[in-house]
């Protein structure tokens, strides 16, 4: 049975694959507590088995005839077991307290600040203005420089969500009206997946976030790419796509910087094609998936807030081509 689960165990979104300071401290704590728990359980079951199957004198006595010597020994055993429990619990509580303190002490040294807002059912991500770079808005994909501590400011405008990227850090709730924050560090470059951990309605299951940890240079390069406005359509197909995007309902909810589209209900699409996935990681970013999503969002994420927009087949293709060009 254990092999079944070990082989199934993937590096995908797991507290057991810690790649950040915060998560590693918790991982160590989980192992410590887990080992103590397993030992305690084994001992308990062992003593229980001995109690059940130990050999006993054959004579049958009245149930009220208690052997006082045995009673004294049992008293002693129960007393020692209780004392041991107290000691172990104090040790565990202290260990947990210091781990918590050292995680809390990570805050204060952040080099990057990013603001994450939870929506039903996607993540809005804002990088503030820094130096010559303007403030930008993106969605569902958080870029961080490796080895630097990142302050994630969290809030929600609808219901409660919870920001959780297990490989990097423990979770933190996003509660409307109660902004909070979390510090995370990624030790090595990679793509880490996270998922909303507080039930938030129909598509709670499809509300994932991707954290891309990359070198400082790569991060800066990404940040300046995001600073640019959306590319101007270069071909006929793209132009037709943009016209359809602006002319139908799309622009009411979505923004594309550099165009009149400035809706704020849905994700900002200025650089949508540069992202790895769409619809909060419900689909991979491929032209086919994009077409499926735009053509009928409700069959991909039933209950999602994005309505189905009636587009002709040609317009749909053009819109997909246009969106696909927005890297």
């Amino acid at each position: 049975m254990s092999t079944l689960f070990l082989t199934a165990c993937s590096d995908w979104q797991s507290a057991l694959h810690a790649h950040g300071d915060n998560a590693r401290k918790i991982f160590d704590l989980i192992w410590t507590f887990g080992a103590v728990a397993a030992t305690t359980w084994l001992l308990t079951v062992l003593v229980l088995a001995m109690a059940l199957f130990r050999s006993r004198p054959p004579e049958a006595r009245s149930p009220l005839q208690i052997d006082p010597d045995q009673e004294r020994r049992l008293n002693c055993a129960v007393g020692s077991a209780t004392a041991l429990t107290v000691v172990v619990l104090i040790a565990l509580t202290t260990g947990s307290f210091f781990a918590g303190k050292s995680i809390a002490s990570m805050s204060g040294s952040e080099t990057v600040t990013v603001r994450v807002t939870g929506h039903q059912w996607w993540w809005e991500i804002r990088y503030p203005k820094i130096g010559s770079l303007q403030a930008i808005v993106t969605a569902n994909e958080l870029h961080v420089p490796v080895g630097e501590s990142v302050k994630v400011k969290l809030d929600s405008l609808d219901v409660i969500h919870s920001f959780w990227v297990p490989s990097l850090a423990g979770k933190r709730d996003l509660i409307p009206g109660r902004p909070s924050e979390l510090t995370l560090i990624a030790d090595k470059p990679g793509v880490y997946r996270g998922q909303c951990a507080e039930f938030c309605g129909y598509q709670h299951a499809h509300m994932a976030i991707t954290v891309v940890a990359e070198s400082r240079e790569a991060f800066d390069a990404w940040r300046s790419r995001q600073d640019a406005n959306a590319v101007t359509p270069s071909g006929d197909e793209e132009r037709r796509g943009q016209a359809a995007f602006l002319g139908t309902g799309c622009a009411l909810c979505h923004a594309i910087r550099g165009t009149p589209a400035s809706g704020t209900v849905g994700p900002d699409l200025t650089h949508v094609a540069g992202r790895r996935s769409l619809a909060a990681d419900a689909l991979a970013m491929t032209p086919g998936a994009l077409a499926a999503w735009v053509a009928d969002p409700q069959s991909v994420k039933p209950g999602a807030k994005m309505p189905r927009i009636a587009l002709s087949a040609d317009d749909l293709n053009a819109v997909i081509t246009y969106l696909g060009s927005l890297e």
Partner: protein, 645 residues
């Protein structure tokens, strides 16, 4: 003058009625049977206040809700067996898991524990009925109407869908879907009312109606456990009553308790809910430990080791259960000092729980185990509950909780605590007391089979969830991506849940078959030591022909042949004995309420008002009229002066 005095004296003489003093057995039983009977036919069925009839009804109803909730879980497992399965819609899935949790917690676990208490407590302490018998009937009708209401709403696609703890704003006025959260909130109100009613009865019964000689240190441990539970209910339930009322006010009349935009606070809901919600777990668990302490001595043939230690542990658990609620809220970002306090208190509750486990193992060590089905369930309980307790220590740690909170690890943890810790002892209790309640034994062969299927099915279903949770699978997701790698473990879990299902099917089959064809039980088939085994199986409506006197903590072991009895009670009308709280010295004879249809009619009025208030706040105003009529008729004095003796 003197003739009036004479008349009064005659009247008093007449009022004193027929006593059991010196009455021969046949006449005694005839009188009692007449005074305590439940009339035949529909009226009797509806008007009875016999704690055994009501208790049985409660148990059967609770098990029906268990079946509904269990089947919803099976449908969820069908959906989760494969990644992105698309077998049911997210909308339906949300309703299923909410109904599963809500039903298990509010309509099965708490009521079934109350049901056992209502049935057993008067028998175990040697009295004829609970205190406030009509309140008892009322509580059942309220409970069953709340349960039926929420399941009918579910049948009309209005099932609650915001989780069993219905967090706002998701369940609030802006995001709650249709009337779904209103049905949830009102169902909670129904069950609170019924739970509070039962708690009051139990407290009064245990404190005032114990058999003479049953001093505090002779109370059976099971009775101790339900007494402490009743106090926990009394202090915990008002918190959820307040919060569910605030929720429905927000939704119905536009108050802003939880609306942060208008100065309310979404977090307030969580504090109020968990201030009830955590004790709730102990409301389920403490009586279950009582089952263990009742079953164990019988099947290892010795009294429980460490009676005082266990009683003090139970009291400690009852107190500490109120200091843990914030450990459900570690991820909300409370100050670290506060979190540390709740970590420490959550760890601390492991101490009294541990002491109980140690005492039980010591009991087994000092005894001679007989491996009958009830004992198997107790052993299964220790085996699984210790796992749940230890993972409880893990989630009490703030950093660990921040990783595993709201994942399948927590799903595994609380199923180990609630199924391992409460349902296993409950099944053991059914095997143990079924003979008393029905006069027939459950089949031991089916019982062993039942145990192994449930035990293996449970562990195979829920143990892997620990690993899934650590691997990052959140709870309450209707599906998960293929790339997650969670598919094979989920398939395994879904298949294992079928084993668990077969286990429960065997349990119900055994009950159905044995109810008709089980071996006759006799008064005391297990050779147990407590008072309920001193009367016939099933017990007569008046429980005991003469009320027993207790001289020992294990009365039937200390006096195996004949039990001392007390005389002097009226037998031509319902009367019970009232005693001192601490040492159970008889103080007075208390009249006990007769059958009445008014509890049912009052419950109908109250239930109808709750139901209508989902649609209009005016229901509370107009509903007050039938409720008042019901209560006035219920409490109308019958013109019998109190017996002042």
């Amino acid at each position: 003058m003197s003739s009036i005095r004479q008349k009064n004296a005659d009247r008093i003489e007449e009022l004193k009625g027929v006593r059991d003093t010196g009455l021969d057995e046949a006449r005694l039983v005839a009188f009692l049977a007449h005074a305590w009977q439940t009339p035949k036919g529909l009226y009797g069925w509806l008007a009875t206040v016999d704690h055994k009839v009501i208790g049985r009804r409660y148990v059967v109803t609770a098990f029906l809700f268990l079946i509904l909730a269990g089947l919803s879980a099976l449908v969820m497992r069908f959906q989760l067996a494969a990644p992105e399965a698309g077998r049911i819609s997210p909308d339906f899935y949300d309703q299923l898991f909410t109904m599963h949790g809500t039903t298990m917690m509010f309509l099965f676990a708490v009521p079934v524990m109350e049901a056992f208490a209502v049935y057993l407590v008067p028998l175990m302490i040697g009295t004829r009925n609970v205190a406030f018998p009509r309140l008892n009937a009322f509580s059942y009708w309220i409970y069953v109407s709340g349960g039926i209401m929420i399941w009918i709403a579910f049948a009309f696609n209005t099932g609650a869908d915001a989780g069993w703890f219905s967090y706002v704003p998701l369940a609030g006025q802006f995001y709650g879907i249709g009337k779904r959260p209103d049905f949830w909130a009102q169902m909670v109100t129904y069950t609170e009312v019924s739970a509070l009613a039962v708690a009051v009865e139990i407290i009064a019964t245990v404190l005032k109606q114990r058999a003479p000689g049953m001093t505090l240190d002779r109370i059976p441990l099971y009775v101790w456990s339900v007494l402490i539970t009743a106090f926990v209910i009394l202090f915990a339930m008002p918190a959820v009553m307040v919060s569910s009322t605030m929720l429905i006010l927000d939704r119905l009349v536009g108050t802003k308790f939880f609306d942060q935009a208008a100065g309310g606070d979404a977090l307030l809901w969580q504090h109020l809910f968990w201030f009830f919600g955590h004790p709730e777990v102990y409301i389920i668990f403490i009586p279950a430990t009582g089952f263990v302490s009742a079953i164990l001595p019988t099947f290892v043939r010795r009294p429980v080791f460490g009676y005082l230690g266990i009683v003090l542990s139970l009291i400690a658990i009852g107190f500490l259960s109120f200091g843990l609620w914030v450990h459900h809220m570690f991820a909300t970002g409370l100050p670290q000092l506060g979190e540390s306090f709740f970590t420490a208190s959550s760890m601390m509750i492991a101490i009294p729980s541990g002491i109980q486990v140690f005492c039980w193992i010591a009991t087994i060590w000092g005894g001679r185990p007989i491996f009958a089905t009830p004992l198997l369930f107790v052993l299964g309980f220790i085996f699984t509950f210790v796992i749940g307790g230890l993972t409880g220590v893990m989630v009490a740690s703030v950093p660990i909780d921040l990783q595993v909170h709201d994942t399948y690890f927590v799903v595994a943890h609380f199923h180990y605590v609630l199924v391992g810790g409460a349902v296993f002892p409950l099944l053991g209790a059914v095997y143990y007391w079924f003979p008393k309640a029905t006069g027939r034994m459950l089949s031991e062969r089916l019982g062993h089979l039942n145990f192994w299927f449930v035990f293996l099915g449970f562990n195979l279903t829920f143990f892997p969830m620990h690993i899934l949770g650590l691997q990052g699978m959140p709870r309450r997701v209707y599906t998960y991506p293929l790339e997650s790698g969670w598919g094979s473990a989920n398939l395994f879990i879904s298949l294992s849940s079928l084993v668990l299902f077969v286990g429960f099917a065997l349990f119900f089959l055994n009950m159905l078959l044995s109810f008709r064809n089980g071996l006759p039980a006799g008064d005391n088939p297990w050779g147990a030591s407590t008072l309920e085994w001193a009367t016939t199986s099933p017990p007569p409506s008046y429980n005991f022909p003469r009320l027993p006197v207790v001289t020992h903590r294990e009365p039937l072991w200390a006096e195996p042949d004949t039990l001392a009895v007390i005389e002097g009670l009226r037998v031509d009308a319902r009367e019970v004995l009232g005693g001192m709280v601490a040492d159970a010295v008889p103080q007075l004879r208390l009249p006990s309420a007769d059958n009445s249809i008014w509890p049912l009619l009052s419950a109908t009025a109250v239930g109808g008002t709750f139901f209508a208030s989902i649609y209009t706040p005016w229901a509370v105003v107009w509903g007050a009229i039938p409720i008042s009529i019901g209560f006035i008729c219920w409490f109308w004095p019958k013109g019998e002066p109190e017996d002042e003796e």
